[in-house]
């Protein structure tokens, strides 16, 4: 198993390196002079700009700057400084990350807590009235843009009922509406995936075998069908978690939560390309770690995959 983890890490690193290189390169060719930006608005003389360029190290060859940027990130976890206000991007990211992580984690938890039982229920009672209602409701939720859902929630629960705050991140209750808004769309898709996976498993032969052993129906469903249906669902949960990390971006803007997404949007709008690249690479890191954990869980849950990995792990050792 440890060998498998190492192998997955070895695959992850080149991908992240490539992400870093590509993002830095792309941002480097974006029109607009970073030196001008760093000086702020107003008219600056050519000499001033040139001095700033020199100070920012922009006059060195591209390849040198790229190498420095990448090695700073990967060896020292240093994302450089913001072009706009000169703050250290790493600290800004670290300060903001807990907010984004809270939204993503709460959202995935809400999705699992509601989506899993609902998906199981609708699969076990396929074609029942409850199933049909759930199908229509989830289809609608799936089509609702999260920022619109967020605005409707604010309208109802903050402005009309005055139950919950509409912006900020002071305490946990500030995260209730953002979590719901971020979850609804994904929740719909997740429920349908659980239902489909469960339906497939429920009609499989080994579930019939379990029933023929005389097990009560709930043991058949929860003891035999569910563990098998959950294996593909694990991957789905990982993907959803990742996309909720992305979805948090919009939610942070709507609810004025000082998370990474808000930082990203602000830095794009301010043309602060250092901060922008930093945010994107940071998100890619977080995303990669989530995917890694998902893969590991998956391998742990499915004895067939586990056996396969153990075998391939041995092969890797032989070749290495």
């Amino acid at each position: 198993m440890i060998r498998y983890v190492i192998k997955r890490l070895l695959i992850m690193i080149p991908t992240l390196l490539a992400v870093g290189i590509i993002m830095f390169t792309l941002m480097n060719f974006v029109p607009g002079d970073p030196a001008q930006l760093a000086l702020g608005s107003g008219v600056h003389t050519a000499a001033e700009i040139e001095a700033k360029r020199e100070a920012l190290g922009l006059n060195r060859p591209f390849i040198v700057r790229l190498g420095e940027y990448i090695s700073n990130i990967f060896l020292r976890f240093d994302f450089g400084k913001s072009l706009v206000d000169g703050t250290d991007i790493k600290w800004e990211l670290m300060k903001r990350f807990p907010h984004t992580a809270k939204i993503a984690v709460f959202s995935i938890l809400l999705t699992i807590i509601i989506g899993l039982p609902l998906g199981i229920y609708t699969a076990v009672h396929a074609n029942s009235v409850g199933d049909r209602i759930s199908l229509i409701v989830t289809l609608l939720f799936d089509c609702m843009p999260s920022f619109w859902t967020a605005l409707l929630l604010v309208l109802l629960f903050s402005l009309k009922l005055k139950w919950l705050p509409s912006s900020g991140a002071k305490s946990l209750e500030y995260f209730i509406l953002p979590t719901i808004a971020n979850s609804l769309g994904g929740l719909a898709g997740f429920t349908r995936q659980v239902r489909a996976s469960m339906l497939e498993v429920v009609s499989s032969d080994y579930v019939t075998t379990a029933r023929s052993k005389g097990l009560p129906e709930k043991d058949v469903i929860y003891g035999h069908a569910l563990p098998n249906a959950l294996i593909p669902i694990l991957t789905v949960i990982g993907m959803r978690f990742g996309s909720m990390l992305g979805g948090a971006t919009i939610i942070e803007v709507v609810f004025s939560i000082p998370g990474i997404g808000q930082y990203l949007v602000n830095s794009i709008n301010n043309r602060d390309y250092n901060a922008c690249t930093g945010c994107i690479i940071f998100i890619a890191f977080a995303f990669a770690i989530i995917m890694l954990l998902t893969d590991l869980l998956y391998a742990y849950a499915d004895p067939r995959i586990k056996a396969q990995y153990v075998a391939s792990g041995k092969k890797v050792k032989k070749n290495g």
Binding site: L199, G246, V254
Partner: protein, 300 residues
Amino acid sequence: MADKKKKRGKRGGHHIDPSIKPGSFKYIWASVSHNKGAVFGMIFLAAIIILSLLSPYICRYSYSATDFINMKSWPSAEHLFGTDDLGRDILSRILFGARYTLIIGILSTLLSAVLGILMGAIAGFFGGVIDAFLMRFLDIFQAFPSLVLAMAFCAVFGTGVDKCILALGITGIPGFARLMRANILRIRNTEYIEAATTVNCPTWKIILKHIIPNAVSPVIVEIAMSISRNGLASSSLSFLGLGVQEPKPEWGAMLASTRNYIRDFPYMVIIPGIFIVLTVLSFNLLGDAFRDALDPNFKE
């Protein structure tokens, strides 16, 4: 007994003439046109496209005309959907703005479909180093949540309809490429291809007669789903100020510019949202109907 018959009728769904061959265009049409959701989707989309094209001629107000006397007026006979903070008629803006969501959704999907299918097909056919290289390359794209990737491209390209199409189009490439690659690998390993090979069926004929028809169905379904996804994403980007920008009446941008008035004038926010939902829903329903029609083996 009568009760049971009713139940079966409901579940059976399709009442397609059994003489029509599954897979033929006639069958697909018969199946899709029997699907209530798909019919709703087609009617809504046809209506919104026609109305959007005709909107400069049929609407009483221009989408961009400001009217400072009738600012923020609630829906009325005069302004069916009311006016926004600058007194612009929301109905005219909604109808005109439909084109952005549709154009961005459709063109970006086309871009990712063409490039993605090409890459996936190449990777699937040739395998080996080319396959490994292309797939590793696509891994880089998939190292982000797709919305963040689209935002990154928007940051690089800038704002505007064309940039937005480009950003969403590139973001969608890996999905199509992987779908197509999996498709080709799946079909190549089936026994009917083996059978065709053993009877000396020429390669071009295998590709034309066996692989393409079998690879096409999932792609069509994915196209419908991708249009709906990209339509949604384009309004999200515009809402964030990264896609289409004011004063263009893109629905997401409209929401962004009026969201501060939500407390007193909620119609400004609710109405554009409903249109986003209906458009996305229409494409989703069409995609579902196509999936049922194209794949007779597909069960819910």
